[in-house]
């Protein structure tokens, strides 16, 4: 469904992504792991054009895009087929929970207000925040805000949802509720790409795990391949801290 070939991105002299090739099957859940500065967030942002890749080819469904000469129309079309969940939620502070989730439906999808409201309410209920729908983001806990962020993305029925470290800004006791919702999203069969540091979670939820370091994909494979039998030394080293902890979950 998504295929990236030869993607490169630099910030000035700093080569953040060096020739990335990645294939994501429809309906699969792909986790991207790696140390800080490995370029995983930048890669995710490039997929949604929040960051512009310098070169490479990008295929989204049957839409083929040359990343070097991408048009505004192509960008908009990709964004309208994908959702993005931000590390720091990035909810609209001047809107209630309901308005946050409705915004894309009404302004972008041009769905009539009553229908959009119904759809938004259903999605908010689905993430377990029915009683908070008239609250402003500032009145919610981090975990609740992130669930609204997920609802905002899910309500638009995107073909793929990109999660950028969705639990990294949360207090430890709030991580669980957010991961539960992400798991629920995965169960709907929607394609997901997750950049995360939650190793145990990535192992349980993913169909494919991608390990990145220094701007390249070092290794990719099933969670078992990566967590239990990593081939590359860099992967082994990175995961050595987590593997034992993970064993408790299995």
């Amino acid at each position: 469904m998504i295929e990236i070939t030869g993607l490169k991105k630099s910030f000035g002299d700093n080569k953040v992504l060096k020739n990335i090739n990645l294939k994501i099957e429809a309906g699969s859940v792909v986790s991207i792991l790696g140390p800080s500065g490995s370029g995983k967030t930048t890669l995710l942002r490039c997929i949604n054009f929040l960051e512009r890749a310098d070169e490479g080819n990008f295929q989204f469904g049957d839409q083929k895009i040359n990343l070097k000469h991408v048009s505004k129309k192509e960008i908009l079309s990709v964004r309208r087929k994908s959702g993005f969940v931000f590390q720091n939620y990035a909810l609209f502070p001047h809107m209630t929970v309901l308005q946050n989730v409705m915004e894309g439906l009404v302004t972008v999808r041009k769905i009539p207000k009553a229908e959009a409201c119904k759809k938004a309410e259903d999605t908010i209920k689905w993430v377990g925040l029915a009683d908070r729908k008239d609250y402003y983001p500032s009145q919610l806990s981090g975990g609740q805000q992130q669930r609204v962020g997920i609802a905002r993305a899910v309500a638009l029925n995107p073909e793929v949802i990109l999660f950028d470290e969705p639990t990294s800004a949360l207090d430890p006791e709030l991580v669980g509720e957010t991961l539960d919702v992400i798991k629920k999203v995965a169960q709907t069969g929607i394609t997901m790409i997750i950049v995360t540091h939650e190793m145990a979670f990535a192992e349980r939820i993913s169909d494919k795990v991608v390990f990145m370091d220094g701007g390249v994909v070092v290794e990719e494979g099933s969670p078992r391949d990566i967590f239990v039998n990593p081939k590359e030394e860099r992967t082994q080293k990175f995961l050595s801290r987590f593997i034992q902890k993970d064993m408790y979950y299995i």
Partner: protein, 230 residues
């Protein structure tokens, strides 16, 4: 004391001075409306940091903020006709003094409000724009639906203070071409009757009352618009 100020004269002057508020208000409204538009342009251009233009804007803003409005009015009143005559060969001496005052106020507001707007725009995190993009909005939709409402909410208090400042600053306009705003009228009546203080007390009262009303209005708007914080 009796001769300097009498309640009787004071009361008599009120109906003579109050109608001149229309002159004062006209200046305030014109300079706020057009000044706000100019300020939006100034703020946007400043943020875009276009070479040359950026330096020009810096000079413009520091001139407007670094010189008294009275001086700026004089420069416009005496300088603009000369400039128009020399460059465009247009004789603007027949223009009403009000026009020059309006121009001076608009230029002044463009700089002051421009700085307020610039700060407000920069205070909105980049993630807000990205969040708008991520749900498929265009740049314009994101600005109108996401960024602008947040800017408006954050500038309301400063905008109110600025508006009251402009209202007070109109008390300078009578120095140009004998414009009869409330201050001008108070001065003229004082000279004509020989009792200076009465008229100025009337003017002072009007300024206080209207400032208070404006302050309350903006306080209410602020209360109403500000979404729950914390």
């Amino acid at each position: 004391m009796g001769d300097y100020f009498s309640i009787e004269r004071f009361l008599k002057l009120i109906p003579k001075i109050v109608p001149q508020l229309s002159v004062t208000f006209a200046i305030v409204i014109v300079s706020m409306v057009i000044g706000t538009l100019l300020a939006l342009v100034v703020a946007t251009l400043e943020i875009k940091k276009i070479p040359v233009l950026q330096q020009f804007l810096k000079v413009y803003v520091s001139y407007m903020r670094g010189t008294p409005l009275l001086v700026q009015m004089m420069v416009v009143y005496y300088g603009l006709p000369l400039l128009m005559q020399t460059i465009f060969k247009i004789d603007v001496n027949s223009w009403s003094p009000i026009v020059f005052v309006d121009i001076a106020f608009i230029l002044n507001e463009g700089a002051f409000l421009g700085e307020i707007f610039r700060g407000a725009i920069l205070s909105i995190p980049i993630e807000q724009t990205e969040a708008g993009y991520s749900i498929g909005m265009t740049g314009i939709q994101t600005f109108v639906r996401i960024i602008l409402p947040q800017i408006i909410r954050s500038i309301i208090p400063a905008y109110g203070v600025d508006l009251i400042g402009v209202f007070h600053n109109t008390s300078l306009v009578f120095t140009i071409g004998g414009i009869l705003d409330i201050m001008g009228k108070a001065k003229v009546l004082g000279t004509a009757t020989g009792h200076t203080l009465d008229g100025y007390v009337v003017a002072a009262l009007i300024y206080v009352l209207i400032s208070l009303v404006l302050k309350i209005i903006f306080y209410r708007i602020d209360k109403k618009l500000v979404f729950e914080r914390r």
